[in-house]
């Protein structure tokens, strides 16, 4: 039987009296590969950060496997849109990935052997094992993105939250990374933010369209009306043939 991984009820969030998110209700089942799409400024990243506990909602409830976040923090992995750090920070790829073990590792001061074994495993999975001892200063955009994915995987999460993980890399690398996501979806729930509704539709089984409020979710078929409500103005529809 599948459980509900993320359940959001009547969520409202505003910043300095400006409503960012209104009346959000959504649920993501265990094993889902869910996509969150919508225009810039529509509140996608804000919603993700609310789920992560980085922001506090004014009202409403977010439950992770039926519990408040603080009991379920260890089950969540997070890949940010941009690297939030200085790229000249003196740290190796392996030490960056090991940071995913924070809050889980039981050792004092340094990371344990077990942490290192898990780091090796996820670096293998994301195909960066050969870069393990390289400084992050020397990485390309695509390599850095894999490091961020590996860092999130190192926590051995049950839910992965990804914020436009391929926004800054070329299309070929994008497909390679999505194939990794597809593989990890075998064992964990994924919620991914994307600007490219067409591209992600090959991978996801559920879609949420967000523009301040949820314009559509998986039970509503995505019609051109919905697209208009979502993006306003003129959108060129391109039909994909597979």
């Amino acid at each position: 039987m599948t459980k509900t991984a993320i359940e959001i009820t009547d969520l409202n969030f505003s910043f300095e009296n400006l409503a960012i998110l209104e009346n959000i209700n959504m649920s993501i089942e265990q094993g889902d590969f869910a996509g969150l799409v919508g225009p810039n400024g529509g509140g996608k990243t804000t919603l993700l950060k609310l789920i992560l506990g980085l922001y506090k909602p004014q009202s409403g409830k977010i439950a992770i496997f039926g519990e408040p976040l603080k009991n379920q923090r260890k089950t969540i992995g997070y890949v940010p849109q941009y690297a939030n750090f200085n790229s000249d920070f003196p740290i190796s790829v392996q030490d960056t990935v090991l940071q995913g073990r924070l809050g889980i590792s039981t050792c004092f001061g340094r990371y344990c052997r077990e942490d290192k074994i898990i780091a090796q495993k996820v670096m293998q999975e994301t195909e960066i094992l050969n870069l393990a001892h390289r400084s992050i200063q020397t990485l390309s955009g695509g390599q850095m993105q894999r490091v961020l994915v590996a860092r999130a995987l190192a926590a051995e999460p049950e839910i992965m939250l990804l914020d436009e993980p391929t926004a800054n890399i070329d299309q070929r690398a994008e497909k390679d990374i999505f194939d990794i996501f597809k593989a990890i979806n075998e064992r964990m729930t994924i919620l991914i933010i994307s600007h490219d509704i067409g591209f992600v539709s090959d991978y996801i089984n559920k879609v949420f369209c967000l523009n301040k409020t949820l314009v559509c979710h998986d039970s509503t078929p995505v019609t051109s009306d919905t697209i208009h409500t979502l993006y306003g103005g003129h959108v060129n529809e391109i039909h994909h043939h597979h």
Binding site: G53, Y78, N84, N86, P90, T96, F108, G109, R110
Partner: protein, 273 residues
Amino acid sequence: MLEFFNTLSSQAFLQNALLGGILASIGCGLTGSFVVVNRIGYMAGGIAHSVLGGMGIAYYLGLNPFAGALIAALLAATIIGVIKLKWQHQEDTTIGAIWAVGMAIGIIFISKSYGYNANLMSFLFGNILIISDEQLFIMLLLDIITIIFVAVFYKQLVAISFDIEFATVRGINVNLFYLLLLCLIAITVVLLIQVVGLILVIALLTLPAAIAKQYVHSIGMMMLLASVFGVIFTSTGLFVSYEPDLPAGATIILISGLAYFVSSFVKSFFRFK
């Protein structure tokens, strides 16, 4: 040149000076690395300068100025930390205010005490040649506190320096560790004041670490290398300044600054070749 080594072998004051330089270098390597990677030199400067307030008050009351310095440094670190975490947009102005107000308090209290000029100068620019055994012991104690703290919380300190948002997501109490890091800077500032004085502290805190950062890719190695550079700079500065009777603190800083510029130049030259 021989005179330096003759005096070193026979005179306790010069031995204490050399030892003081080494003890200060350990602190500057460990804490300085975090100051450099967090880019909080200005914050460390604010803590360092406001220390004069505590020293002045302690001096006026006839207490040990370094006890006053330690209290003032920890107080300034806490205030700056809380302001940084709560009201980020006013951080710059507030640090400037704490910096100047601390110094003003110090100058007023010292001016009302006996022996104004000589003591003010040694607080501001340090006097490595008059380090007592007791001060060496206090420096050793501050070093031990720093080493234990960094060893126990190495993971957390690196994590909040590297990516504070990710550290939060992983459940680290980032505000607590940020405040503790600033308190660590406060302790190190006090450790370094005797050697180079509070005005020059910031150079010894950042320059060895900044040079080290150019050659390594882990914070641990950066700390080790920065400490070694610190020992080299303080010892060389002491040696060079001794015979011509130059101020040792200023000489140490000049050598560190020179080393930093040479290293940066060499690094960028080889990168673009």
